[in-house]
Amino acid sequence: MGFEDVASVAGGILEWQEQGLPIVSSSNLTPAQRDRYSRHILLPEVGIGGQEKMLNAKVLLIGAGGLGAPTALYLAAAGIGTIGLIDDDVVEESNLQRQVIHNTERVGMAKTTSARKTIEALNPDVNVIEHQFRLDAGNILEVIADYDLIVDGVDNFPTRYLLNDASVRLRKPVVSASILSFDGQISTFVPYEGPCYRCLYPTPPPPEMAPSCSANGVLGAMAGTMGLLQANEVIKLTLGIGEPLVGRLLLYDSLATRFTELKVRRDPGCPICGPDAPEIPESEMGRFPDYDLFCAA
């Protein structure tokens, strides 16, 4: 195998370490990290290199609520090194039926702070960055620029469309899910490699076709199911393994426990990612349409 100066130690590597003999490793993982992530490292698709990729990854979660909570927990457990959380809300009692990153003692606390405390207790390797404000056209480009991937757990259409347009401009992949009652949807948007959110939904629906969870209710476990599917997508994208849901929309019916997969094509007429979409000059990069009016119309 090309090795030189080879010796054999009775007792193997453990005895070698016990004797304090030097170990040269190309890995930056500490012994504690090798132990913590051992179940990942055993996977051929992950290994030490993959775990290091995850520790170096920066993922932004928009929303530390229903979808954000389970996604953040499992990304933190996986060792995603930097997790940004955007939410301007505080924990309420009615959240605790599904937002499992929070708890009763944290009612009234900012959601990002509550989530950070849970994440830090779960995995001190993770650097949590709190963004206690709402995304809008004035701040979105600056916020998302620092991250590799974005997780969309947003609860309203204006922000979903804003996020889409900004993420396409900056070529940031977005893992997007939504839940309502007993149903969920998830897809992954990688700019110019597959469709964008506007290719899928060119126009937002009127209010009567898009009720909120607070109006219609949602099964708590739905947040967990779809949130973990989001976490799974983030990990696949970070590691470059498997088949992310690019060009696919996965629907989940929890009453029937049935998944349905639909194809999503790039729209050649898409005003954002289509071949004829206008070039955005530098001076226009931070300017977006008035999304609230757009969606209200």
């Binding site: 609520g65 229903g66 060119p202 898009a210 969870c213 194809k263």
Partner: protein
């Protein structure tokens, strides 16, 4: 008869059904049959000019009819037509 999957937001207008069968040789005919049987679904599905509302996606099996022949897409008894509005709940 093709099978139509009704999204939760339309089920009240469709008599509470999650799934219905309807006659028609094309997607458009099948959806019209749905609106004739359940008139309250019409305004959500079709614009005044008779075209599909832009905020409603309709799938024939796993393909958006916009990339097929739109409402003229042929439909058979082996096909499933899925009505898919966008969903924004996440919190």
């Amino acid at each position: 008869m093709a099978t139509i999957k009704i999204p939760p937001v339309l089920r009240a207008q469709a008599g509470g059904a999650a799934e219905l069968d309807a006659d028609g040789a094309t997607v458009g005919e099948v959806l019209r049959a749905l609106t004739e049987a359940h008139p309250d679904t019409a305004a959500q599905l079709f614009a005044a000019g008779g075209e599909l509302n832009r905020y409603v996606n309709v799938y024939l099996n796993d393909e958006d009819v916009r990339v097929l022949d739109g409402l003229q897409t042929a439909a058979t008894s082996d096909d499933t037509i899925l009505i898919l509005p966008a969903m924004a709940g996440g919190n």
